[in-house]
């Protein structure tokens, strides 16, 4: 029988990913619900440096796997997780729904025929067994999932779904030697920095952000003009950047820039999770969207169900006065 919760922490070159403490919080909750003891595994050359940061209240054991290539390599990470799951047979494996995870966790789950849910916003262990919740149809609905017949269930948690765990713990710490360093199947040629541009949208107090509600490339210049008139800096969601209508340094979101302006005014942006990741901490969020069910309204402080062009015309007029 499988038992226990295995949290796969994430170490990046910037250090321990803050979401790891959220995974631990979810693990503590599952432990309280009866899922068994809580183990945190750190797979990274510098794993040892982060032991204290994950040795939080409720954690029973911290494993460090340090004999891996210096950079993250998805096939090595896969081999490490597969070996740990084989050795320890956890009931639940928790990892973040992050770019790194997306490169290997689905492979781990498929090869092991484990239970699997990605981008989960909730996970529980109760009389009905393990359950998870995740968005469906572009986060318009929430799906409840079960994992019948699965000894091990792999759940990738959305960042922000749990409050980070706190308080020092008293976990046993163990360095685990796994023979996996030679499992890499990609070779890194080069690392490329984010594109530098002529504006730094992180420095702006007021961002006017436009999304796919804007239909024509020519209109981008009109919004640039409106932004100038309002004293705002123009930024955008990813589709406008992908289309080449606006430069990549103005993209807000997980694969763009994270911003925390005083005011974020979003016109015609639906509020996909990757966009929210880059702006949900803005102090005041105002959203204009013609769709009353758009997920952006769940993070906005002020919302208007309205046509963005009509509102933009009025803003142009009123900011002139």
């Amino acid at each position: 029988m499988s038992d226990g919760v295995l949290v796969a922490g994430e170490v990046t070159r910037q250090g321990l990913r803050p979401g790891t403490a959220e995974l631990i919080a979810a693990g503590v909750k599952l432990k309280e619900e009866g899922a068994g003891s809580l183990t945190v595994a750190l797979i990274d050359v510098e794993a040892d440096a982060h032991v204290d940061a994950v040795n939080l209240a409720g954690v029973d054991e911290v494993l460090t796997i340090g004999a891996v290539p210096e950079r993250f390599e998805a096939h090595v990470a896969q081999a490490a997780l597969e070996t740990l799951i084989e050795q320890r047979r956890p009931r639940i494996v928790l990892a973040g729904h992050t770019f790194a995870s997306l490169g290997f966790m689905p492979a781990v789950a498929a090869r092991g025929s484990h239970g699997f849910a990605s981008d989960a916003t909730a996970v529980s262990c109760g009389p009905d067994g393990i359950r998870a919740r995740r968005g469906a149809y572009g986060d318009r609905l929430v799906a409840e999932l079960e994992f019948p017949g699965k000894d091990t269930v792999v759940v990738l948690l959305r960042e922000g779904a749990f409050e980070p765990a706190e308080g020092a713990g008293s976990a046993a710490v163990e360095a685990v030697a796994l023979e996996i360093a030679d499992r890499a199947r990609t070779e890194r040629i080069e690392l490329r920095d984010p594109p530098a541009g002529d504006v730094d949208i992180t420095a702006a107090d007021f961002l006017l952000a436009i999304g796919r509600g804007v239909e024509e490339e020519e209109q981008v210049a009109e919004f640039e003009e409106l932004a100038g008139r309002m004293g705002a800096t123009l930024s955008a969601s990813r589709p406008l950047v992908d289309a080449g209508w606006i430069s990549r340094d103005r993209q807000v979101g997980q694969s763009g820039t994270t911003v925390t302006p005083k005011v974020y005014l979003a016109l015609g942006i639906s509020g996909a999770v990757q966009h929210l990741a880059g702006m949900s901490k803005a102090k005041t969020i105002i959203a204009v969207n013609s769709d009353a069910d758009a997920p952006i309204f769940s993070v906005a402080h002020y919302g208007a169900v309205a046509d963005l062009y009509e509102v933009a015309d009025e803003l142009r007029r009123q900011f002139d006065e």
Binding site: Q78, F99, L102, G103, F104, M105, P106, A107, A109, A110, S113, F116, A117, S118, D119, R131, A132, Y137, G138, D139, R140, L141, V142, A143, E144, L145, P148, V154, T186, E187, R188, R192, D193, P194, D205, F206, G231, R238, P239, D242, Q254, S255, G256, K262, L265, T284, I286, V288, D293, S298, H301, Y302, A304, V305, A306, E310, E314, L315, R317, Q318
Partner: protein
């Protein structure tokens, strides 16, 4: 070079949907080709145009999903395969990957190009799960691809706008990100001609996947669907555009002054 591109006919939920006892009325759904798959199809077409070979598009879906295949054929894909059995309704990404793995075993492509994610389910998992089952090298979230002989050089997107350039050996699987290229449009003539291109329909059994195998492969089962719990939510700005703009001006002036 033979490229296999798995594409999904993705669901779009209409505004006024019917949800009863956690079950969604399927008439509430519209369908369109998954946004990410527009880019993977284009990437496949470009590679084959440059190096010669064949682009095969495949979907796990019912008859309605043929629209996605026809659209790809109209753009230049050579042939299409649709795999279906009603037990695959609501199939999870691991079950879909299992079915696609059987097709890859049969087709033996050099390269599989999946999308990073599907716009309706957003699992972001099917491609990498498939590579895992095949034990192929893969890279997720790719925005450029170059082929040289038996190896690939790809740019993998990282968070925050950075990227890393990786080399890997064929056969391989990549998940393609939006913006990787500029997807073409098919003209009317091509759309007509696409009707003559081969579109094979098979059931999983014909690929050697029986119901028990599917059941074992599936990573989850859907219990129910619900409307999301609404938190405090946004304060709604009332009135027409003029009033809405007036309130925005006020909020902005007040917040910027503080």
């Amino acid at each position: 070079m033979k490229v296999l591109v798995p594409v999904k006919q993705a669901a779009v939920l209409e505004g006024d949907f019917e949800l009863e006892d956690g079950v969604l009325d399927r008439d509430s759904l519209d369908w369109q080709i998954n946004e990410w798959d527009e880019f993977s199809v284009e990437a496949g077409l470009r590679l084959v145009e440059a190096a010669g070979g064949e682009v095969v598009v495949a979907t796990v879906g019912d008859e309605d999903a043929e629209d996605a295949l026809r659209a790809a054929l109209a753009k230049g894909a050579d042939r299409a395969v649709r795999i279906w059995d009603p037990v695959l309704e609501d199939a999870d990404p691991l079950a879909v990957a299992h079915v696609l793995a059987a097709l890859v075993e049969r087709e033996r492509p050099d390269l599989v190009l999946a999308g990073v994610q599907s716009s309706d389910a957003a699992n972001a998992a099917t491609g990498v799960a498939l590579a895992g089952l095949l034990d192929w090298p893969r890279v997720a979230v790719v925005r450029s691809i170059e082929v040289e002989g038996g190896s690939l050089t790809v740019e993998r997107e990282l968070e925050g706008g950075a990227a890393e350039v990786l080399r890997l050996e064929l056969p391989a699987l990549l998940t393609v990100q939006t913006g990787a290229n500029e997807p073409r449009y098919a003209n009317l003539r091509a759309i007509k001609q696409a009707r003559q291109k081969p579109l094979e329909v098979v059931d999983p059994g014909a690929l050697g996947v029986d119901e028990v195998a599917l059941e074992t492969a599936a990573g989850s089962r859907l219990v129910s669907l619900a409307a999301p719990a609404r938190g405090a939510g946004a304060t709604l700005l009332q009135g027409g555009a003029e009033q809405v703009a007036g309130q925005i001006v006020e909020i902005v002036r007040e917040r910027m002054a503080s």
